[in-house]
Amino acid sequence: MPSFILGRLVSLVLSLIAASIVIFLVLEVVPGDPAQFMLGLNATPEATAALRTALGLDGPLLERYFTWVLGLLHGDFGISYTYKVPVSGLIADRIWISLPLAIYALALSTLIAFPVGILAAVRRNSATDVGIMGATQVGLAVPNFWFAMLLVLLFSITLRWFSAGGFPGWQDPLLALKALTLPAVALALPQASILARVMRSSLLDTLGEDYIRSARAKGLSQGQTLWRHALRNALIPVLTIIGLQFSFLLAGAIIIENVFFLPGLGRLVFQGITSRDLIVVKSVVMLLVFAVILVTFLVDITYALVDPRLRRATR
């Protein structure tokens, strides 16, 4: 086991190094000069050159790469070209929107998907099942930004229950949760549809297994079999999907963040790219890569804990 973990750790570090090189180089070749962008159409070439020096954009490639990586290792993400504040502060602010939003959306989608998926599996081929499958098909097909606009039209403009967007900050947690509710619902719908379908098919697979029949033969009721045996085993693929969805929700909520003008991580990257605030883009993308690699690492470890065969195989 320790050597397995060690092996995974080495691969984690190598992936991070490779990612940092790719991210750095890609942003190097992106066209557009941040200094020119910031000073606009009337700036003199001297002012632009002065700004380029001030931003540290004119050193040799290798030197700038190591400055950046060493900074990251110290927790120093650099100073944003546009906002002129530390990038770490920007990330810290926005992660308090993106992370809660992702968790909120995931919680909602799980709360919807589990009962619905289980119901569909248990009532297989009934009208309920067909209805649920149809509804999830629609849920998958509806683009979440369009669904978000419908939510705004109904709950913000017509009913005026929620504001149409923005984020008031966490000073008042209830207000903050309220502001995240419509975006979370919009994000949760397609996720819940996927999850419900996976739940259903995974449960159907497990329900067909021999040990389920044995459990029933032992005298357990259908409900007991479901709870004690089938559900537990059916959860493994579902949890994998949830893990994937979480990374997606953390970084991929960008369109929803635009619809609700929420200052989240996704929009930070998007604005960073368009305004050539490359230091922000570099650091946030690196952080997201780190998060995804870390989650994969943890999942690997968990699999190994659950399934001893995996430990031996990797050795």
């Binding site: 910031m38 159409l41 003199t44 913000s156 984020f167 929009r267």
Partner: protein, 496 residues
């Protein structure tokens, strides 16, 4: 125990309802303004972005002079000034008793510091070129400053009113990027990057106090979200509303008022004068006649915009209507192309990321050019790409862009500017204009400059951007027009 709980709950409920019901008959004292673009940092002397002035100009920062709603320049931190006979010495008399938001006094030293800082070596001021005529700044006494110029500069008083020349204090100048300290009627309170900026009333303001107690600027880039935010009451006004297609809906709603005003945004089809065959005036003239301005205004701007025939805002008293000179005449266009001996012409049309005039307008222009036999290769660029390919490297034939700085006709005289206009007569006119202070002569020269650009078909002149503002019907005192990029809240209040 039980009863006290009930009482407590009732009291709580009561408190909540009171907090939630708007106070009766009492006018609101805060305003929530929606803006499309967010300022990068908050120092107007180090940023070109219009969004910085849209939040801070006149509200937080003040210059010696300022531009007001009708576009004229009035005294601000300088209550009066004298100009010497030869036009080389400007003596400014400053207001007394003004204080910066951090409590330090405003005086002549701050003026000297601010103006010297613009022209210092390594200065990051985006409009540095506007203040190049200043040779020295001298503190006569704490309330008097004397500027000595290298040559007479007829634009100086106007240029000093730009956001780029606001007065800052040596103690706080470096931190203005994140914590702006000015002398204005509002002080900076808080910023949530990516979301909003909050200002509050400066209780120690030297001039007429403002009616509002506070103001919040919310940044909403998405047009649909902007529409929803107004409808839901999340913002009270959108001075530059990004969704013109929905304006009719607001016009029919008594809760809102729609204000169509003018801006300083000359929208042009820029032609690269330095590149064959666009260096041939006949070809440029042919392109100008191929363009149907009204079709672009209707098709790309939902009808909002005023056709222009030269590079000046129709709101400017010196504006002359030269649109007839480049009227829509495809037959003439074809004849001119034949005369120039140009056949089978293909031009690149590189468009910046502006949905309305550039992207929608670009499609219309491409089809209008196709009608006279000019093919276009349309490329959609993002801003940073546009700046490097078109603006810096001049690697383009045509582009569509709105130049939104006020009174900026002089850019056609710049060497190496991306128009590559290089017209000796025009350069002379602008040089004369710079050293002329007499209003009548200035007007004459400005008109000569306008005619020169129209006669030489320097670029395709399309239309002046309209300012489409939507605001709460009870809000008073917002600017109708945009003579400079600002959201001046100093005269804003609520109807009771």
């Amino acid at each position: 125990m039980r009863r006290s709980l009930v009482v407590l709950a009732l009291a709580g409920a009561l408190a909540m309802t009171t907090a939630m019901t708007p106070a009766f008959a009492q006018a609101r004292t805060d305003v929530k303004v929606g803006l499309v673009l967010e300022p990068p940092s908050l120092d107007p002397t180090a940023e070109a972005a219009a969004a910085v002035d849209e939040v801070l100009y006149a509200n937080v920062f003040e210059g010696l002079t300022r531009i007001i709603a009708d576009g004229s320049v009035v005294p601000a931190l300088a209550k009066s000034w004298e100009i010497s006979e030869d036009g080389l010495t400007y003596t400014f008399h400053l207001v007394e008793g003004a204080k910066f938001h951090d409590g330090t006094d405003f005086n002549a030293d701050d003026v000297k510091f601010s103006l010297d800082r613009i022209n210092a070596e390594g200065s990051l001021n985006a409009q540095k070129a506007l203040y190049a005529s200043i040779a020295s700044v001298e503190v006569v006494d704490p309330a008097t400053v004397k500027l000595t110029l290298k040559q007479p500069d007829g634009n100086l008083i106007y240029n000093l009113a730009w956001g780029d020349a606001v007065i800052v204090a040596p103690e706080s100048a470096d931190a203005n990027k994140t914590n702006p300290i000015g002398t204005g009627p509002f002080s900076f309170k808080d910023r949530v990057e990516g979301d909003s900026i909050t200002l509050e009333k400066n209780q120690a303001y030297w001039g007429t106090p403002v009616a509002l107690e506070g103001a919040t600027f919310k940044f909403i880039a998405d047009p649909t979200a902007a529409f929803a935010a107004l409808q839901a009451g999340d913002v009270d006004t959108f001075p530059n509303f990004p969704a013109p297609e929905t304006v009719a809906q607001f016009q029919n709603d008594p809760r809102f008022r729609v204000v169509i005003g003018s801006t300083e945004g000359e929208t042009i089809l820029t032609m690269n004068n330095g590149k064959a065959p666009l260096d041939n005036v006949k070809v440029r003239e042919a392109i100008a006649h191929a363009i149907d301005r009204q079709a672009i205004i209707d098709g790309a701007m939902f009808g909002y915009g005023t056709p222009i025939g030269t590079f000046l805002s129709p709101a400017n008293p010196d504006y002359i209507d030269l649109t007839a000179q480049s009227n829509y005449d495809p037959e003439k266009s074809k004849a001119l192309l034949a005369e120039a001996g140009v056949t089978d012409l293909t031009l690149s049309l590189k468009l910046p990321p502006v949905e309305g005039y550039a992207r929608r307008g670009g499609e219309i222009i491409a089809s209008q050019l196709a009608a006279v036999g000019i093919k276009t290769e349309v490329t959609n660029l993002e801003w940073a790409q546009w700046l490097s390919e078109v603006f810096t490297d001049k690697n383009y034939d045509l582009t569509i862009i709105s130049h939104t700085e006020p009174n900026d006709i002089g850019i056609f005289a710049r060497d190496g500017y991306y128009f590559q206009y290089n017209n000796a007569d025009f350069k002379q006119i602008i040089a004369d204009l710079a050293v002329t202070a007499d209003p009548a002569k200035r007007s004459e020269l400005t008109k000569a400059a306008e005619k020169n650009l129209a006669d030489n078909y320097a670029v395709g002149f399309l239309f002046e951007l309209a300012k489409v503002g939507v605001e709460n019907a009870k809000l008073k005192g917002m600017w109708d027009n945009a003579p400079t990029q600002a959201t001046d809240l100093t005269g804003v209040s609520w109807e009771e």
